[in-house]
């Protein structure tokens, strides 16, 4: 009971200190926004260019125009018309995926369609060729007034319709939790130890555990606050909505926060100065961040790195958060169970190690 009341007061004091430190407040609250803001604006669909060049004359327009119209109804392709030499130059400069040339073959009173494509775009070129052939066949049949004996009906159904930003937000939440924990603890523990604040506290009867737990509690509250703002921002600006359980998102966030805080406390036991603590934290967070599937799917990693990074706490956190937030998975799903158990195992190991190695002062 006695310790609980001290815990409450020290946690409250920690929160006050955090909210009064304007620059720390700014960076820890706005960093995730900057990331989400920037990545949210990226238009990744335009990354692989899908420009198609068209070369045709008046004589062949009757064939070229329907092709163009058919493709343009699909947002994926952009059409450019020009002379043959212009379009082929653009193709050489990688500004076009494919160039379609419609020429009238007077000898056989037919239209020739020449398809030019770069070697690296053969696949796209094949698709465009096939679609073009199909459209031209339709056009020809219509010209001959022949009715097809079948009809294909297309229907658009609602899918999750995932955008990059939907993939990003859970990852950024996981990242913000990790960074808040790692850098927050450096300030609160390593910085205060360096200044001699912890030595002064050590001279009082305050138990080590109460000190550590109050720091962890305060930091977790700050992280939840940060996530709340982040989710509101993502909802208002990018219309992100959580498909799965909100409570599960919070529970995972708390668990992730605790894991990273204890990891930070463990690391703080080996860092004499804030400088050395930062130097220690940077590579760890870089590796976790780039292999943890925060910014891109981990499937692009080489096999060995994919396997190793699968065990990182940030990976578990980002993956489970993503499963809940965009796939709507629940506690009954095995991937959520695996993630939860893995995070708890990490947490337990880190708690044991960090309590053992924590020092009020490093001589």
């Amino acid at each position: 009971m006695k310790n609980l009341s001290i815990l409450y007061d020290l946690t409250y004091a920690n929160l006050k200190m955090f909210f009064r430190d304007k620059s720390a407040l700014f960076w820890s609250l706005f960093f995730p926004f900057i990331i989400i803001g920037i990545f949210g604006m990226f238009d990744f669909a335009s990354l692989g260019n899908s420009n198609v060049g068209l070369v045709y004359s008046e004589n062949t327009a009757a064939y070229a125009e329907p092709v163009r119209a058919a493709f343009e109804s699909n947002d994926s392709y952009k059409f450019f018309t020009g002379t043959k030499s212009e379009e082929l130059r653009a193709l050489e400069n990688d500004d076009r995926v494919v160039v379609l040339e419609f020429t009238s073959n007077n000898e056989r009173s037919k239209v020739d369609v020449n398809v030019y494509m770069g070697k690296e775009n053969e696949q796209t070129g094949e698709i465009i060729t096939l679609v073009t052939e199909k459209i031209l066949a339709d056009v020809s049949l219509q010209m001959m007034h022949i009715e097809l004996p079948f009809e294909v009906n297309k229907e658009v159904v609602n899918t999750n319709n995932l955008r990059f930003i939907d993939f990003m937000v859970p990852g950024v939440i996981a990242l913000a939790l990790m960074q808040g924990a790692l850098f927050g603890v450096i300030g609160a523990i390593v910085g205060n130890r360096e200044k001699g604040v912890l030595r002064r506290i050590f001279a009082t009867p305050l138990p080590k555990s109460v000190f550590l737990v109050s720091n962890i509690t305060a930091r977790t509250i700050i992280s939840l606050f940060q996530i709340a703002i982040l989710l509101i921002f993502a909802y208002l600006v990018f219309k992100i909505h959580i498909v799965g359980s909100f409570v599960l998102v919070i529970a995972l966030s708390v668990l992730g926060s605790l894991t990273f805080l204890t990891m930070a406390i463990l690391m703080s036991g080996f860092a004499k100065t804030s400088e050395s603590a930062r130097a220690m934290v940077m590579p760890v967070q870089m590796v976790f961040m780039f292999t943890g599937g925060v910014y891109f799917d981990r499937s692009v990693l080489p096999d060995w790195l994919y396997t190793i990074s699968g065990f990182f706490p940030l990976t578990y956190l980002a993956d489970t958060l993503r499963d809940v937030m965009i796939k709507g998975e629940t506690l009954s799903s095995s991937s959520i169970q695996t993630g939860l158990v893995a995070l708890i195992v990490w947490l337990v190991i880190l708690v044991i190690l960090s309590v053992r190695t924590f020092k009020w002062e490093i001589e």
Partner: protein
């Protein structure tokens, strides 16, 4: 003055990487007295103090405070002592009042803020953050924080190092005030002989980890004179310190 020994130190030893810092010292501090530890840098004053306070592991020997063995029950000792550390620092972004209240909580006590702040003359600074205080004010906050648990023994490690003469004198008055109003034993270290003369009932002089003299300041001076000591130049009845204070005034600058 009562003759009960509140601090008893026996054969205390400390070494760092085989370099001996404290080399088997023994002494007692009587309840209610102000006991000074003097000595050049590296003599082992701070190590001695920190071992007695329970902040540093004792390699050999024993220290007891009010009958409690420091190495066996460091937590019990912490409840009854107040510690002002050399160059201590406090949380940024917490006010004087908030820091003192928080320290009270560490002892599970509610602090009478008003009287404590009056005692250390920090009136008007209640809302100031620790990092906005002057050197002298910081030391007074430091002393206030070590008084939150009404300690039986107050440890002051170089309390006036780095302060200007006005602030130093102000702190001496403060320590004397505290001594008068509370039944408290003070053990301090200092580089300033004037400070020791002004505040201490008895002083121990340490050099190279050993106590080489221990007595009242007067007795130590008399012993020196008995050994035939002659000052190199004629002593005047005022010092440069007095000149400085006369010219700049006694008022605190902060």
């Amino acid at each position: 003055m009562k003759s009960k020994n509140i601090i008893i130190v026996e054969n205390l030893k400390k070494s760092y990487n085989k370099v001996v810092a404290v080399d088997g010292i023994s002494f007692e501090v009587k309840e209610g007295e102000t006991f000074g530890m003097l000595g050049p840098n590296g003599a082992g004053k701070t190590s001695t103090l920190e071992m007695i306070e329970g902040l540093r592991k004792i390699d050999e020997g024993t220290a007891t405070i009010d009958g409690i063995n420091v190495s066996r029950k460091p937590d019990a000792v912490r409840e009854i002592v107040g510690i002002q550390l050399q160059s201590a620092s406090y949380f940024d972004n917490l006010s004087v009042c908030e820091i003192l209240e928080l320290f009270g909580k560490f002892y599970n006590r509610t602090v009478n803020l008003k009287s404590l702040i009056e005692k250390v003359h920090l009136e008007g600074k209640e809302k100031a953050y620790a990092n906005q205080l002057s050197g002298g004010q910081k030391q007074r906050l430091s002393i206030a924080s070590s008084l939150v648990n009404n300690p039986k023994v107050l440890f002051l490690d170089e309390p006036t190092t780095g302060l200007d003469p006005q602030a130093r004198r102000n702190l001496w008055d403060l320590i004397k005030d505290i001594k008068e109003t509370e039944n408290i034993t003070v053990m301090l270290t200092t580089h300033y002989m004037e400070e020791a003369e002004e505040l201490c009932n008895r002083v121990a002089i340490m050099d190279e980890g050993k106590i080489i003299a221990l007595d009242t300041p007067d007795a130590l001076i008399k012993q020196l004179l008995k050994r035939g000591f002659k000052p190199k130049k004629l002593r005047l009845s005022a010092t440069l310190d007095d000149v400085f204070l006369d010219l700049t005034g006694k008022a605190l600058r902060e």
